[in-house]
Subunit: 296 residues, 2 copies
């Protein structure tokens, strides 16, 4: 576990200096896969026919892992990772890889690492979230090479900056990316931030996409996996607080794919985002400069 | 401790049925004061000349207690509580008691109970917050006897209600009261909710006041108490997200009383609210019915 922690810290250091430590993410994920290969698993039943398993060691259990998305040996992960990176075109801002394969390789990279922490470092609760942010920021840097990556948005006439997880932008505006492994009640924050940005930049300089892994919850008594969803809250926020440009999950909750939510906000997998949606979402950053409306 | 838990549950049951268990709160607070009288305390130094202490039992420590606000014997608490209840006039929606005495009696009622849980039931993290909500809701029922108390706001054309901690209202509108012992990053929620209410009821049918205890954090190495404040965030939210009608603390953070925050949002003690501000804040609920603007 010490090697995984050291590798995580080294990777974060490169990221914080503006880099995209993609090779390091690959090596670190292989370390995690190898470490998890030695322990047993237990099957859990999900909703809508989804299958999960949980890593078990003594009284420690990992978060639920979607069986169909997790690559369990380092060779197949390494091949998929290499293929994924090669499939990314920074000019068209898209990947040509099969959408399910995109989801699978990114799911393995975050959930392998997070499961190791669940089992061997359960007190380091924040580290998996940090790792998720570094993973997403590094991968998206390959998709958006002409935009600058940051963690905050400078605001005119305010000594406060708006802090977020990841933002890619230029002088025309940018894409704000709150990155949360699960959201629960924290889903209010991306909506509030987008509203503030709409208020400060009414010409629409920033767009937000929320990127998550899943909304799963383990039920050990039933060996089942529940999805904690708040469709009414999402509808309310999307209608009356602000408009997110999309909500993307590696393991999208079945409930959010239903018509009443999907009619209001684009909900999709990462494969959908990276193969299809991102190019259109980011298009406005390369169009003619936006003109702010005259001051009142 | 068992007696305190049983009394808390009985009190909550009355509250959930619409009651205001004021006598029960008094008895429960006296139980807590008696229980805490048996253990030792340690002095902590606060900022801006404020003094605190912490209850200590073995390796367990309570949250920091502001020395000048805590009543440490049941006789003085009981007298103050009786005087406070007698000072409340539901017609004028105000109390005639000295503001510092109002703060002191309510501070003792929440912090005595919460400290018992810190020491003897540290895993029941949510119970002090529940108790705080019941305390506030019960007391405010005496101030606003003609308004109905609820925990949610029904929304037209939505199958979702907006859930909050406490709301007092009638057909003309209401006062929404998020009640948090401390806010930290959760301060976004009252602002987001007020924004949603402004969007759904643009004629201004609801007003929010945030009610907290403090923003203190214990530093055991320095035996000091820090205040975790986010003045830039409060300014940003108050300017660009929505407008809270007030933020009230039993132990207001020094930083929030400074000009740059206080110029944007009313920040005060509970004494200020209950002696001076509440009557004006609630006035709109007794004026002529609001007229919604014509549909666009």
């Amino acid at each position: 576990m010490n090697r995984i922690e050291v590798a995580h810290k080294a990777m974060k250091r490169i990221y914080d200096q503006g880099g995209a430590p993609l090779d390091q993410i690959c090596e670190l994920t292989c370390l995690a896969i190898d470490k998890l290969a030695g322990i047993s698993t237990e099957q859990y039943r999900g909703i809508s026919g989804k299958d999960y398993f949980v890593y078990v060691l003594g009284s420690f259990r990992s978060r639920p892992i979607r069986s169909s998305l997790m690559l369990s040996d380092t060779t197949s992960f390494r091949d998929s990772w290499t293929e994924f990176l090669a499939s990314i075109d920074g000019q068209t801002r898209s990947s040509t890889m099969d959408t399910v394969k995109i989801d699978s390789v990114l799911y393995t990279a975050i959930m392998g690492f997070a499961s190791c922490f669940d089992i061997w470092k359960p007190k380091s609760r924040k580290t998996p979230g940090t790792h998720f942010e570094v993973l997403l920021g590094s991968v998206l840097t390959k998709f958006l090479p002409d935009l600058a990556r940051s963690k905050f948005i400078p605001l005119p006439n305010q000594d406060e900056k708006l802090s977020t997880d990841i933002v890619f932008g230029n002088e025309r505006g940018g894409i704000v990316i709150p990155a949360k492994i699960t959201t629960r009640e924290r889903i209010v924050q991306p909506y509030a931030h987008q509203r503030i940005l709409d208020s400060i930049f009414p010409e629409g300089r920033y767009r937000s996409i929320l990127m998550c892994v899943s909304e799963t919850q383990r039920d050990d008594d039933e060996t089942a996996v529940n999805e904690i969803c708040v469709p009414g809250t999402v509808r309310l926020f999307q209608t009356h607080l602000s408009s997110l440009s999309g909500i993307y999950y590696l393991d999208p909750p079945a409930r959010y794919m239903q018509e009443d939510v999907a009619a209001l906000v684009r909900v999709g997998s990462y494969g959908t985002l990276l193969r299809n949606d991102l190019a259109g979402l980011a298009l406005f950053t390369t169009l003619a400069p936006l003109v702010a409306p005259p001051a009142p």
